[in-house]
Chain length 280, copies 2
């Protein structure tokens, strides 16, 4: 209430734009969702601008068919629990709305809504998001009370491997993984959701945060693939004048000065990491 | 002006309905288009009735994509001339309108409009529609002045064969086929349009009356193929108490009492006819 997002700085250099925000962390972090959504929608609108009326209709007809066919495949699977994590990188506001409505009609209570744990859970779902400095090292060094939390997010790296690490970790701390929740949320699409769901059935409570490939799968629908989603992120780059680092479980997603990344990897005991191509 | 369609009689017998009209030929013949269009749209609405909001959207998204992909294929072909002949058996009024608008945007002046020669040509385009009693016999026995007409409709039988018969006939009557028009209009779809267009390029002016598979191609889009178009026709069954007969160039499309069909075939010198499956 009464919150205003801190001011933004936009620098455009030819085809490159740099959008930065400065402010206190609790305020400035709220920029992430609107900033990414606005950038992506501007890109979409720029591409759509030159298209004819029927070309546009058919573009959306194809995209609708694609989303619906994904939903139809998910509908047939049992014990699914899927949330919409696609706000930030959505094709557009209206398209996002269409996708959510389609999920409601198509998936019924398998669809658990759009990511809004903040309001519903008093700001704390007690879900570990461990990949910032590497999942394995984080969990190995975590205090026992963390194993009592509800679950874990698998947001980078091989998702099955990440979940196995979490399951082993819970077991090693005397917890029953079947009472724990694993939320997969890294670049998911239908195939992976179905595979992971089948693989972890009965071993852990799996749920899925389906993002960009739900709300922005326009791959292959226009020439030069000009509407394909890309890996647009909004990250803290410095705090109190010091550069920040994110390691991730996928070295392709690491961010920060190279020397700092290397130092953090050493400090946080990050072992071998396999690079995985980042699609979205 | 001031015209009223003659009254109709509708008899429903379980799943069978019989819709008949009686009146003077110039009046009663005008029933054909609205009667067929209304029946087909009632069928469509009955099938759509139980569908969900997004199922409906995606059904139309798929149908739009299909029509547009057809148009895209036609767009790349040269020297095409296509008219919309799909009013009678259209999926629905609104869908027909969409298809026509899409043709306008997609095909530009390759699309020559919806069949309305009546208004534009004072009721006489001078196009022969010879298949009622068999094309071959009709042309062989036709008076020479008929070869002076603008062109011919190929509305049943093998379309390439029919056009070859017409070309040979014009030559035999001293006419240059390259100045003549052949209008193909029997159950056309893109593949056939492109094939026939290529085959007769430079030999005759080919144009295409694209009907049911333009305005009602919902094949395979709902369970049990309940929206697939079918061969719905409206024909004169008797005149002054005597049964009427249509022979067609495809014996599958012949109509009338079997004995009368046989007699007409003999009288009009219809030779061998190959049966062709009727899709629409």
């Amino acid at each position: 209430e009464g919150l205003r997002l801190p001011p933004y700085q936009l620098e455009c250099n030819g085809e490159q734009s740099e959008l930065t925000f400065e402010g206190s962390w609790p305020e400035v972090m709220l920029w992430e969702i609107p900033a990414l959504a606005v950038l992506m929608e501007l890109r979409s609108r720029a591409v759509l601008d030159g298209m004819g009326r029927f070309e546009l209709q058919v573009l959306y007809a194809r995209a609708m068919t694609r989303v619906w066919e994904k939903i139809e495949r998910l509908r047939d699977a049992e014990n699914l629990s899927i949330a919409d994590f696609g706000t930030r990188r959505r094709h557009s506001f209206l398209w996002h709305d269409w996708c959510v409505q389609a999920m409601i009609e198509g998936l019924g209570n398998k669809f658990t809504g759009t990511s809004d744990w903040h309001e519903e859970h008093d700001g704390n779902l007690r879900i570990i998001l461990p990949d910032t400095y590497g999942t394995k090292g984080f969990l190995d060094n975590a205090p026992d009370w963390l194993a009592g939390w509800t679950g874990i997010r698998i947001d980078s790296g091989g998702p099955a491997e990440g979940a196995e690490i979490a399951i082993d970790w819970w077991k090693s701390r005397g917890e029953d993984p079947r009472s724990k929740r694993v939320i997969f949320s890294d670049g998911l699409d239908v195939e992976q959701i179905l595979d992971l769901s089948a693989r972890f059935e009965g071993r852990v409570q799996a749920s899925f945060g389906w993002g960009t490939l739900l709300t922005n799968d326009f791959r292959g629908l226009v020439p030069d693939d000009a509407l394909a989603p890309f890996s647009l992120v909004c990250k803290a780059v410095s705090a109190n004048g010091r550069p920040t680092v994110k390691l991730s479980d996928n070295p392709q997603k690491a961010m920060g000065p190279a020397a700092e990344i290397a130092r953090y990897k050493r400090v946080f005991g990050v072992g071998r990491q396999d690079p995985i191509e980042v699609i979205v």
